[in-house]
């Protein structure tokens, strides 16, 4: 049912004259933040700062796009932060181990990237199979795998930090810091994935199935939707996207430790919800997620650029803005 209404909304979205807060809430919040930032600090809109904020948003953003599908299908994944740390750790180990055979150039890095995607795929499959085949609650499965991945990376790093071979790092570094036409690679990858995600969500059977399952699993089943297959695909997709995020993350500092990716899962979930996706499932909006990620990162950036409040209160300001952003769009949602 919701499936049908949302599909309808998407079709007439451009032509609809009335602007309801439910749709524009996140955009209003984002514009307000940009305005506040620009008024507070002249450097806020500088090329350097905009690039910094967008590139930083890329990790959580790429993960949050995958999370949008999982949440839309009525699921949840708490393990993505730990998974990112685990993938980063293994990826570094793989690349360091390949240096003697493949050298310190691109072959090693491409092998590392392939490893990251493969491990992400496997980790997503692990979560997904436990949820769909063993029929365990997603919350419990991913809470468990969150602990498993986090411990594994601590163990792999022997409690310390895994560092990428220095010469490999020099070759790999531009993947985070460089780009084309002055746009950094992480931003390009993030936007490409977001655009693809939006298309998949709106215009493919998989996207519509996710919404149908999240809306009413039984009805979806009777409508000949392969419920388990679609949900499994959601977790696998998320795992692979965590792999992609890690590929962009590793060249930044060239290291992984047990403190990598802490609380990323909550940031990703918060971004998805700020963006207008329903936590219970049934309705998802990828472009909203992108805005949610930008809002979260802008708040931090503005707080750092200004001396408005004591740094002790940063978390409180973020919390207030997250709640406000959701309140703005939920007022019209009583009918839903």
């Amino acid at each position: 049912m919701t499936d049908a209404t949302t599909a309808g909304t998407a079709a007439v979205k451009t032509g609809r004259p009335s602007l309801d807060l439910h749709v524009i809430g996140p955009i209003v919040a984002l514009l307000a933040l940009i305005l506040i930032g620009a008024l507070m600090n002249p450097n806020f809109l500088s090329y350097g700062n905009v690039t910094n904020v967008l590139a930083r948003s890329a990790f959580i953003g790429i993960i949050a796009v995958g999370m949008t599908f999982v949440i839309t299908a009525g699921g949840l994944d708490l393990s993505v932060g730990s998974m990112a740390a685990f993938i980063a750790g293994l990826m570094i180990i793989v690349m360091n181990a390949l240096v003697p055979t493949l050298g310190t150039g691109w072959p090693t890095i491409l092998a590392g990237m392939a490893a990251a995607l493969a491990i992400g795929f496997a980790a997503g499959l692990f979560n997904g199979l436990l949820i769909t085949q063993a029929r365990i609650e997603a919350f419990i499965v991913t809470l468990g795998s969150m602990g498993i991945f986090r411990s594994l990376v601590t163990w792999l790093a022997d409690g310390g930090t895994l560092s990428l071979n220095f010469s490999v790092r020099e070759v790999y570094r531009p993947v985070y810091y460089d780009g084309i036409f002055g746009i950094a690679w992480p931003i390009i990858v993030f936007l490409a994935i977001a655009a693809l995600g939006e298309i998949v969500m709106r215009h493919t059977a998989f996207g519509r199935h996710c919404a149908a399952i999240g809306s009413n699993e039984q009805v979806a089943r009777y409508s000949a939707v392969h419920v388990d297959r679609a949900r499994l695909a959601g977790y696998v997709l998320l795992g692979v996207l965590v792999g992609v995020a890690t590929i962009m993350y590793v060249p930044r500092l060239g290291s992984a430790s047990s403190s990598t990716g802490v609380l990323w899962e909550l940031e990703a979930i918060a971004a998805v919800i700020i963006g207008g996706t329903v936590l219970k499932g049934g309705f998802g909006r990828v472009w909203g997620t992108v805005i949610g990620v930008l809002i979260l990162n802008l708040i931090e950036n503005i707080l750092n650029l200004t001396d408005l409040v004591s740094p002790y209160l940063n978390g409180a300001i973020q919390g207030v803005i997250i709640i406000l952003a959701v309140v703005l769009q939920r007022q019209k949602k009583a009918t839903r």
Partner: protein, 317 residues
């Protein structure tokens, strides 16, 4: 008999010039309870704890050690209770995860007549422990501040990255600010980087956007210094400023040794303090050397000249 044993032991271990007491023949079990290796410094601390236990077990066959690592305060309390109930420990060396939740359980160990050594983080109640071994947090800030003073006699502009908001961080920063008083060095901004590389990277990027002129950075921790250096590198402002971290991560010590211009010095806050505590506790059972009281390990400045003696390539930190 005790004396004879003591001489025998002395003959065997001629390298160890310790007077053996009558207690030498008795078996003693020492429990060591520390937080798990969840960040770089703790990883180093785990490494040094394990190394000290291995060394002592070899040198003193009459000593037994129980080493437990805890990932949260609750688990640490259970560890200590288990040690008391099942291993019948004679002494406890504990680095409390948090002061408040551990005070009660450690107090019960002391009340049972066991020797208690507390490391780094003090308990909330005074007089429980027999021995207190800790790093010097105000000293950590003061030594750093004095270096800034000496390095910038005409003043300058600096930014500061702080750790996780805790007493430790407050003591360090207060001492640092005090050391800078009247020096003409202006602290442009202070933000929390939470002793984390990624957070420090973000904070430093924003500092660099905000301030067109920065002469130096007090990163106050080597993990944070890694993130700070990368952000400065990205902004292409490496010639403009230098960075002081702290705690003696091996990669940073290496750069000090190599005379890196951006990392001129480092300040110690050694994770090996756990080894000092374990060794001193062991002394209590194998010697007559008095070890009760407070033992504060000073924070010293590591310069290219003395860096070698602080470099542990095998440690994870």
């Amino acid at each position: 008999m005790g004396v004879r044993n003591a001489f025998k032991a002395l003959a065997v271990m001629s390298m160890i010039a310790l007077p053996m007491s009558a207690a030498a023949q008795d078996k003693a079990t020492i429990g060591v309870s520390i937080p798990a290796a969840t960040h770089g410094w703790a990883g180093g601390m785990n490494y040094h704890a394990q190394a000290a236990v291995n060394r002592l077990e070899e040198v003193y066959p009459q000593l037994d050690f129980v080493l437990a690592t805890a990932s949260d305060p609750g688990k640490q309390v259970s560890d200590i209770e288990d040690m008391m109930a099942t291993r019948n420990i004679d002494a406890l060396v504990v680095l409390p995860f948090e002061s408040d939740p551990l005070t009660g359980p450690v107090k019960r160990v002391a009340e049972a007549g066991k020797w208690v050594t507390v490391v780094d983080r003090g308990l909330s109640e005074e007089g429980i422990e027999d021995l207190y071994v800790a790093g010097d947090n105000p000293g950590f800030g003061r030594v750093a501040g004095e270096y800034f003073r000496q390095r910038m006699p005409d003043g300058g502009k600096i930014v500061v990255l702080r750790g996780i908001p805790t007493t430790i961080d407050n003591e360090r920063v207060e001492a640092f600010q005090k050391a800078l008083e009247g020096s003409g060095i202006e602290i442009l901004g202070m933000e929390h980087g939470n002793w984390n590389r990624d957070d420090a990277f973000t904070v430093m990027q924003d500092f660099l956007s905000k301030y067109p002129e920065i002469n130096a950075v007090w990163a106050s921790d080597d993990d944070m210094a890694v993130g700070v250096l990368e952000a400065i590198n990205q902004a292409g402002r490496t010639d403009e400023m230098w960075v002081l971290g702290g705690a003696g991560m091996k990669e940073m010590i290496k750069r000090v040794m190599d005379g890196d211009k951006m990392i001129p010095v480092n300040v110690t806050y050694p994770p090996a303090m756990i080894a000092s505590a374990i060794e001193m506790t062991a002394l209590k059972f194998v010697s007559n050397a008095p070890v009760s009281g407070r033992f504060i390990i000073g924070s010293v400045l590591i310069t290219p000249e003395n860096a070698e003696s602080y470099y542990f390539p095998d440690s994870p930190f």
